[in-house]
């Protein structure tokens, strides 16, 4: 319920770390842009705020065929579209909008496919173009999607921002006016807030959408004040110029925690930082060498010195919050003597020389790769392995390790959709081991591959969890990585903010959030 008529409007200011690229998540990959589009749009399904659980959104319910190939979505009725400037919707949300949103990204001959550069990086990099077989409208409120192969994580994919539903009617309206590119700049959605204005590089302003199908959200206004520097964001928070900031500087955390006006929220992130071996190159094609390195790296000192309390030790490729996480997987102990013996057994009694790629930038899963590499270098020197630390510009770095140029490389991943597949297949499957794929260990191990492929095809979550557990045992035994850490994500929030929930995906979401008077 809105407050009394005389109450001042409630305006929450979020000091965002950057400017949105535009206002259509399908075109982008950056979390900054997703945050800015999220108040405006809904998907067929969504992640429950603060969790990875998939809940109904624009689809009220759905059925999945026993073979896992057909998804039938029953759409919510009476969902209103927002209006903007000269555009007033004449109808509610329906199946045409779902078809429009998917086909735009999928079909090269779709009238909107090449509008705004038509990148669709998520849709393409996730291979959805090959996965989708037919998307059809059964009636105004029923859509059937047929896949070319069973893919259990498909529902989780649809909860991601790139699969937001946008308006087919608005698209027609703009096309007739000859300004289709406005579609991605002047957004019209069904979400809890509607778009007011974007002043480039300064601010995005939203107002509550009174007719949102989920009921009115408590805030009247939402402002994203764009503030790229982390120190300045913190200063703004302290000065009361914003209520919430993302990505604080780690050295500021103790002071934030002591501040009586702020709450420092923290959550184990949906991420993993690791060291990958190029398993197609000598000497790392030998699993004993990989196991030896696993035993020679002192992960505790990495956690203490590099993460300084902002990381938890990792033993699996998936973080603990994800279903199927194998809590009792046996990890390698820190044991340099045993490591040296293993190396000798593998034919390297005097060690060997190798490179170690360390990324030049801070990442959510690795606050300081250079420092981490130095610790590893010192650890491995103890077993006779001489490590040369190598670094490249970030874009070049990714390209080289995705091409498999390295011998050992530090890398990591932040999950997209909370499904184990997003880590276990995407980062360790055979398809991704090809050149320029995201499996930078270039590791293709058939017993593992069979399990993760099968887990894609089984719809039942408990059965999938069992398969992933087995796969994690194989992963640990074969040791294509040294699993290092799951980083903790911090968010400083003003005490005036009520009901804000941190997201495992590091999303910043404001529906349902309120402000104390």
């Amino acid at each position: 319920m809105a407050g009394p008529a005389w109450a001042a409007p409630k305006t929450l200011v979020y000091c965002a770390e950057g400017s949105p690229e535009n206002f259509n998540a399908a075109l982008n990959t950056s979390g900054t842009t997703f945050d800015a589009t999220r108040p405006l749009f809904d998907g067929l399904v969504e992640f429950e705020r603060g969790t990875t659980k998939i809940v109904p959104a624009l689809a009220e319910r759905w059925e999945i065929s026993p073979d896992g190939l057909t998804y039938t979505f029953h759409l919510r009725r009476g969902v209103k579209w927002q209006s903007f400037k000269d555009y007033k919707p004449t109808r509610d949300f329906n199946a045409d909008d779902v078809l429009f949103s998917l086909n735009r990204q999928w079909k090269a001959d779709h009238p909107y496919h090449s509008i705004s550069g038509g990148g669709y990086a998520f849709f393409k990099s996730m291979g959805l173009g090959d996965l989708l077989k037919v998307v059809e409208k059964l009636d105004d409120h029923t859509v059937r999607i047929t896949l070319s192969r069973p893919e259990a994580p498909f529902l989780a994919d649809l909860a991601m921002d790139f699969a937001n539903i946008t308006s087919a009617e608005y698209a027609d309206f703009l096309m007739k006016k000859g300004t289709p590119e406005r579609y991605d700049q002047d957004p019209v959605g069904t979400g809890p807030f509607r778009f007011v204005v974007y002043q480039k590089d300064a601010q995005v302003r939203y107002r509550r959408f009174e007719e949102h199908w989920g009921g009115k959200t408590p805030l009247d206004n939402l402002v994203f004040a764009i503030t790229p520097d982390a120190a300045v964001r913190y200063a703004k928070l302290k000065a009361g110029e914003c209520h919430l900031i993302p990505y604080p500087n780690p050295p500021d955390l103790p002071a934030i925690a002591r501040d009586p006006t702020l709450t420092l929220m923290e959550m184990e992130g949906l991420n993993v930082g690791y060291l990958a071996f190029q398993t197609q190159k000598k000497p790392f094609d030998d699993k004993r060498v990989r196991q030896a390195i696993n035993m020679a790296v002192d992960r505790k000192s990495i956690l203490d010195q590099v993460f300084q309390g902002s990381g938890k030790s990792a033993k699996n490729p998936i973080p603990p919050g994800v279903f199927g996480y194998l809590a009792d997987n046996k990890d390698y102990p820190y044991d340099p003597a045993k490591a040296k013996a293993l190396l000798a057994e593998a034919g390297y009694p005097n060690g060997f020389e190798t490179d170690l790629y360390a990324m030049p930038v801070q990442r959510p899963y690795n606050p300081n790769a250079r420092r981490m590499a130095e610790i590893i270098q010192a650890d491995l020197a103890k077993i006779g392995v001489k490590v040369k630390i190598v670094s490249f510009e970030w874009g070049e770095y990714r390209k080289r390790i995705q091409d498999g140029d390295h011998q050992m490389a530090l890398y990591g991943w932040t999950g997209d959709n909370g499904d184990p597949d997003n880590f276990m297949y995407n980062l360790l499957g055979c398809a991704a081991a090809k050149t320029s794929g995201s499996n930078i260990a270039k590791w293709c191990h058939l017993p593992y591959e069979d399990l993760v492929l099968k887990a894609k095809q089984v719809p039942d979550q408990a059965a999938r969890a069992k398969l992933y557990e087995q796969a994690q045992r194989i992963f640990k035994e074969e040791a294509p990585w040294v699993t290092i850490a799951h980083a903790v994500v911090f968010e400083p929030v003003s005490k005036k903010v009520i009901g804000y929930k941190q997201s495992p995906f590091n999303r910043h979401q404001f529906d349902g959030v309120d402000l104390a008077e």
């Binding site: 305006t11 200011v13 950057g18 400017s19 690229e21 535009n22 982008n28 990959t29 950056s30 090449s114 705004s116 550069g117 038509g118 990148g119 990086a121 393409k124 990099s125 291979g127 590119e181 991605d184 700049q185 204005v197 002043q199 480039k200 590089d201 300064a202 601010q203 302003r205 402002v223 004040a225 764009i226 503030t227 790229p228 520097d229 120190a231 300045v232 200063a235 703004k236 302290k238 000065a239 110029e241 914003c242 490249f392 510009e393 970030w394 874009g395 070049e396 990714r398 390209k399 995705q402 890398y411 990591g412 991943w413 932040t414 991704a432 050149t435 320029s436 794929g437 995201s438 499996n439």
Partner: protein, 336 residues
């Protein structure tokens, strides 16, 4: 005089072409293209990657891309941003007023403090005031802008609470951009208090951006003033028994100002370069911050267009300074 102007303008053409070349090729020397930057840790099927490159025209040979770009520039089309798909000229026009507003306030600040400080230092040459001004200006000149900005924010905004931390206007106000100059727009708008709020937001960034020009102006004024104060006509004025104020204010200052005016003109480049850092610290939505973001995103057209337009502004201001100087000083325009 006409020949002088024509020569100066003709010289702009190679400079202009040079800037297009530099802007085009330098950003392409930076590894990673816009698509790779967007993909992040995500791998992609090489065929899909090629498809996306082709969509942006990045698969064409570099020279062909440059020819396309130059052709566009010559017809006034700077292309569209690869990221936002907005015409580059449009983005520039939207953001440039913020940079001009900040730069004008910064130079105003530099003049108000720098001129009197330089004059005083010259008049009190060798005294503690002179040493103080010189030391302060050397410190100001060597101050890393980033650190200086954060220091001022911490002191004035966080500890004292006198000034806002960053941005151009508080979230409580919304002023529809008309001219793009927020002081003017907020003055004309119905929003009560918006003008004062905008003015408050200008204080710290103007000080930070104005610090280096201030130091330069103070030092230049001092040395130019010293030179003039040693001239015969000043001695004559002194001999006549004129007061110090009249000698300095009336006789010396006007002549001492000629080189200072030139230096002020040349500060435009410094201001625009400084704006890149200042705008990033103060989240000031101008072209400096825009250029930085364009580099990070490898937004080639935005960066090329932005660099070119900024270079044009600097060239035109320098041309204007040259012409004015030539007008004032015949020795320059007749020089071979």
């Amino acid at each position: 005089m006409l020949k002088f102007i024509a020569t100066r303008i003709a010289l702009l053409i190679p400079t202009f072409l040079g800037v297009t070349l530099l802007a085009f090729f330098l950003i392409r020397l930076v590894p990673g293209d816009p698509i790779e930057v967007r993909l992040g840790e995500r791998g992609i099927d090489p065929a899909r990657l090629e498809e996306m490159r082709a969509q942006l025209g990045l698969n064409k040979p570099l020279l062909e891309q440059y020819a396309d770009y130059l052709g566009g520039v010559l017809t006034g089309d700077l292309g569209r941003s690869l990221i936002t798909q907005t015409p580059v000229l449009h983005e520039f026009a939207e953001l440039f007023p913020a940079t001009i507003e900040l730069s004008l306030c910064a130079i105003l600040f530099a003049l108000i403090i720098g001129l009197p400080a330089g004059v005083l230092a010259a008049v009190k040459r060798g005294g503690p005031l002179d040493h103080g001004v010189m030391a302060a200006s050397l410190t100001g000149y060597s101050m890393p802008i980033f650190w200086w900005g954060l220091l001022l924010i911490l002191f004035f905004s966080v500890i004292l609470g006198w000034t806002p931390v960053s941005g151009r206007l508080s979230a409580a106000y919304y002023v529809e951009p008309v001219t793009g100059f927020l002081l003017i727009d907020s003055w004309m708008s119905e929003e009560e208090g918006a003008f004062m709020d905008a003015l408050h937001h200008l204080v710290l960034p103007s000080i930070v951006l104005g610090t280096i020009p201030l130091a330069v102006i103070a030092r230049m004024t001092r040395s130019s003033m010293l030179e003039v104060l040693g001239e015969d006509y000043i001695r004559t004025a002194r001999a006549k028994g004129l007061g110090l104020f009249r000698i300095v204010g009336l006789h010396a200052l006007r002549n001492a100002m000629i080189p200072v005016v030139t230096v002020i003109g040349l500060q435009v480049g410094t201001l625009l370069a400084g704006a890149i850092l200042t705008e990033t610290i103060f989240a000031w939505p101008g072209i400096g911050k825009w250029l930085i973001e364009s580099i990070n995103r490898r937004d080639y057209p935005a960066l090329q267009g932005g660099v070119l337009l900024v270079a044009c502004v600097v060239m035109l201001v320098n041309l204007a300074v040259d012409l004015i100087y030539g007008l004032l000083n015949p020795r320059i325009r007749h020089a071979k």
